[in-house]
Structure formats: C-alpha cells, structure tokens
Symmetry: C2
Subunit: 164 residues, 2 copies
Amino acid sequence: MILKYFEDIEIGKKDTSGEYPVTSEEIIEFARKWDPQPFHIDEEKARLTPFGGLVASASHTTAISFWLLNRAGKGLAVISGLGWDKMRLPNPVRPGDRLSLTMECIEKRESKSDPGRGILRHSVVIRNQEGVPVSTFETTTLVKRRPASRSSGRAKPTRPSPEE
Amino acid sequence: MILKYFEDIEIGKKDTSGEYPVTSEEIIEFARKWDPQPFHIDEEKARLTPFGGLVASASHTTAISFWLLNRAGKGLAVISGLGWDKMRLPNPVRPGDRLSLTMECIEKRESKSDPGRGILRHSVVIRNQEGVPVSTFETTTLVKRRPASRSSGRAKPTRPSPEE
C-alpha cells in the first residue's frame, strides 16, 4: 500500500528499520550459491583468513540491505531503483549479528522527463547490534509524485531510465 | 586455488564470465525473500507498471553479479571486497535473459598498511544476451601480493580495512 509519495519525503528525514538476524547457516547457504569464497562458506578455512572466522558475502549484506530498506521505506511509492553509490564495508558481518538500517534523505528533485515522477537520494547506514557500521552507501530512487499534483493529459508511462 | 596475485593483473586487462540464465521462478523466489516489490514478485501487477512485466530486483542482479565475478575473476587471490561505486541499472533484467560480465582493471596500487597486499579497481559491465547493458559499477578489491615479493618479518595479518 502506498502511503508516501515524493512530496511526503523531506530532506533530512530519517527512517529506521527493525533488525535482521544473521545466522552462520544463512551466510553459508547464500554464499554457496552466489559467492563461494572460503571465508564465506567454510568455518575452518575462514578461521585462517584475516577475518578470523566466517563473514557474510557483500552480496548477502546487499540482499539484507534491501530487506531492511523495504521496512525502513515502507509504503514509499517506488517506481524503480536507479543506482547506488559509495558502497563501503567498514566492518565485517558475522554470524549472530543483528543488523538494522537508517536512511536519510539527502537530495530530492522532480523528474525532467515526467511530471508524475521524482527522484530521491538517501544516505544509508547499516549497523550491527553494537552500533558498529557494517555497510554504508547512497541510493537513488525513482518514486511517484502525489497524483493530485500531476499535470493532466500525461503520456503513457515510459520505462524508468537512468537519465531521469 | 590461487592462480592470480596483485602482480598478475595489469591495468587494461579484461576478463569475461560465462552466462547466467535468469528465470521468472528465481526472480520471484529471490524477491519474495529480500525485496518483495510488486514488479518483482507478481506478474499481473508487474504488467501494469512502467516495466510492463516482471523484472529482477537489483539485489538479485547484484547476487548474479557476484556469481559472474567469481567466474570472470577465477583464481584471483581475494582477501576482501572493499567497496562498490557508481552502480547503475541502465536496463531491466527480465525472465529469459542470459547475463554475462566483463571486468576491466582500471587502477592498481600497493596497500599502504601491509606490503603483502594490493588494491585493484575494476570497471564492470553486465550485459544480456542481446549485448544490452543491465548493470554497470566499479569494484575495489583487496588482494594478496605474490608471496615472493613480500618483505620478511611481516606482522600478523590485520583485518581488512577500507583505509587500506
């Protein structure tokens, strides 16, 4: 259900998610399929790496980020993600971690090509249960404007494009 | 098995992967768990969006990117991913697509903190079977230097850090 349009998000607005619990079983299962590096799938070998134990694949952390973004941004009228920037992994994600997300709107502008759309940029930080950041990035998202503010006679919606 | 160290990767070197086939079943299954937007999980509702049909979640495309990166970069002595930049999604990923990846080394430097390590930056493009780009980004990866080139008496390996 759509509760929040472009007009409802102010610069500086912060939203937070609930927690996502990370298990060694899921770290191994996810990485076996998508990113089978020894430090993601083999506890013995992981102990001998600089990490000193199993750590989640960045692809797994990204999937968890989307899970958390869906909750923190619940009800936002998303048309499409357009891009991600400056993704960093300042600390590893380990079994037993509980991750939560804070997103802050840092930029908003109307679409140049479609008056029914707007673009939001958010700064995102994911922290573990000790408040230690494990992933930071910026997202750019194409969202709907509130229908009442649309101009009439709008053309058929076009496919989302990075040139929005 | 490690076949390629920091010293083996030259700027301008290109590597390519095999293909990853994308199915509607996997698009829906992945997104149900991680990113349950209607245009990722519901064919009927997806038809009514600007995409005109099911498209893969960017989190799914990212997971597939890692699968392809493991193949294109096979044997590279990875210690840790450090970050991703400028990720864009110029075109949607749809059921039936076959994705492949090209990575090109665009920068390399020795670690400031550890003579046994080096940092590689790659420009990555993922294309579908028609050669249309669906995801582009840059990766920064911490890798081992060839053991023979290490200085002796090195301290115990430290945890990978973004300040490398």
